[in-house]
Amino acid sequence: MASPTTGAFRQPRFPLLAQLLRSPGSAAAAVVAIGLIAAAFLVPPLMAQDPFAPGGAAIWEAFTPPVWMDGGSSTYLLGTDNQGRDMVASMLFGLRTSLVVGFLAVGIGLVLGVTLGLVAGFVGGVVDAVIMRLADIQLAYPALLLAMIISGAAGTVTGPQRSVSAAITIVVVSIGVSFWVQYARTVRSSVLVERDQDYVAAARITGRSSVAIMFTHILPNVMGPVLVIATINLAIAIITEATLSFLGIGIPLTQPSLGTIIRNGNSYLQSGEWWIVVWPCLLLIVFVIAINVLGDWMRDALNPRLKRRG
């Protein structure tokens, strides 16, 4: 939105990118996170064989150790699992599912939370009191416990033999719903500040509806903190998915996700095939740390109080 006054404070074309490059740790985290996301979405479609399709993996090559160990093969850099699937390939397939779940869950939480926060802050009164009291109650139930309960309760509705898509939907919704409180609280408090600004009064005088003012005028001004929460929530969503799937109440074993791959590999922990479980654990840790570092950096970079100082 270019208004005449912004010309006076002209900034570099991509101010955030320039700022990111000035912080090496955050830049490295960004490279790792974006690289892994790109690999997870771009590489699997290019593979000749889906390792999770029936007959897609060389079962006779099962339990091949990583390349630097005795019996390792240069075809399988990190080894193969109990079905002869290449660990690199199956982790990319798994990460893709985990990312889809994560993005969808964050999306649900964001839309729900931002809408409720805007309404609570803008309308006020009883509506505000009800929404915020709900938020208070839910705040006591962390995402993992809530997702466990919803996923468990929903699992009894559909029965243990539910379809893959039903299972994914349950996981996405149960994680997503547990996220709305943070967005709602943040947006509401920003709205309370923005609501009395002159530009809102001006929009009101020109006859715009409340809904239009909320979404086109106030919303862009509160998006900064929302993006930060969304980034950190992505890490929480991916950990929660992995935990639920590891416990057997998330995504079924037939669909690769980081959680199901770790659950599968965990069966071979005692027999010495450590690589089947360690690599996906490491991938999960590295990805989550990268996203968290990125989120911390964004919090500082998007904070107007810190920006003005720079």
Binding site: A140, P142, L145, G152, T156, T243, N266, L269, Q270, W274
Partner: protein, 324 residues
């Protein structure tokens, strides 16, 4: 104060009834108790008897009343999976969970408080910085990944500690079993309790540190210094006393995470506690057990939250004036 307490108590009761209603709706709408509890060649007389025993012919309101009545008397119906009373199942599993929770609580108090005090008092020392760095790992590592890695190192590679179960347990009376009295019981407790405590230790440690750093800047600490009190008495008597109260409150609010993490820990270590029972029940759609577990968690939650809320006015009298 009395009005405040009564209104909190009333709210807690309302929430309790809501949770019971959800538990009741789960049991009354999901699954078919007749198909799961009776043998396939059951006679009509046996069916009628069970219908009578479970009050299946009564109206919804009446059944909810009976459900609440049973609940107050500690009865939650019969498990679809094992055909035992749910209360018996829960009583069998409770000791394992309680002992695991107690040991991890002890670890939390000892390591979290001492580490937090050290890092708060000697904030600039290299040791404190190292502790803070490693505490980041505790915040980031998912519980189940930590458990898997501990098993890999200490059970599989080094062979020092068992990776599953409670070891040998001793029965204390009719309704309690303990692993505290045998060496194998203690050995079995090590890895699960560390796994469960990791999050709480890092949480408490970081909280106490930041509280102490903040209190170190306040006027009363500066006055104490100006009066010439020895640093030890300033930190450990005056500052720590003020730092601990909010830490206790906020840690109480982490209860939800602790319950969730205990389910995860019990699953990783095949620990025969309530969390594992909950997971097994979900996988076999054992609705009465699931419902009883949810109600039990709800009750624990309500009681702890009520205690926390009732403690607010004692810590900060301004809460009462705000009109709640």
């Amino acid at each position: 104060m009395i009005l405040y307490s009564l209104s909190r108590l009333a709210q807690a009761l309302i929430v309790l009834v809501c949770i019971s209603l959800i538990g009741f709706l789960l049991v009354s709408n999901l699954g078919d108790p007749l198909a799961t509890l009776l043998p396939s060649d059951a006679t009509q007389a046996q069916r009628d008897q069970l219908i009578q025993a479970l009050n299946l012919n009564a109206g919804v309101v009446e059944r909810f009343g009976l459900f609440l009545n049973d609940m107050v008397h500690g009865s939650f119906g019969i498990s679809y999976r094992t055909h035992e009373p749910v209360s018996t199942l829960i009583a069998q599993r409770l000791p394992a969970t309680v002992e695991l929770a107690l040991v991890s609580l002890a670890i939390t108090v000892v390591l979290g408080v001492s580490g937090g005090v050290y890092c708060g008092v000697h904030a600039k020392s290299p040791v404190a910085k190292a502790i803070m760095f490693f505490s980041l790992a505790g915040v980031t590592l998912p519980t189940f990944v930590l458990g898997i890695l501990l098993i890999l190192v200490f059970s599989v590679n080094l062979g020092w500690l068992p990776s599953f179960g409670r070891g040998n347990v001793v029965a204390l009376g009719d309704w309690w079993t303990t692993g505290f009295l045998t060496a194998s019981g203690w050995r079995a407790l090590v890895l699960p309790s560390i796994t469960l405590a990791m999050f709480q230790v890092t949480f408490v440690l970081r909280m106490i540190r930041s509280q102490l750093l903040e209190i170190g800047q306040t006027d009363f600490v500066r006055f104490a210094r100006a009066r010439g009190l020895p640093p030890r008495s300033i930190w450990y008597v005056h500052a720590l006393k003020n730092a601990l109260v909010p830490v206790v409150t906020i840690t109480g609010l982490q209860l939800g995470n602790i319950i969730a993490f205990s389910v995860v820990t019990e699953s990783v270590f095949a620990w025969p506690g309530l969390g594992l029972l909950f997971l097994q029940s979900i996988q076999s759609a054992d609705v009465p057990v699931i419902s009883a577990y949810l109600i039990l968690i709800g009750v624990i939650f309500i009681v702890i939250n009520l205690l926390v809320e009732l403690s607010y006015p004692l810590l900060d009298p301004r809460v009462l004036r705000r009109g709640t």
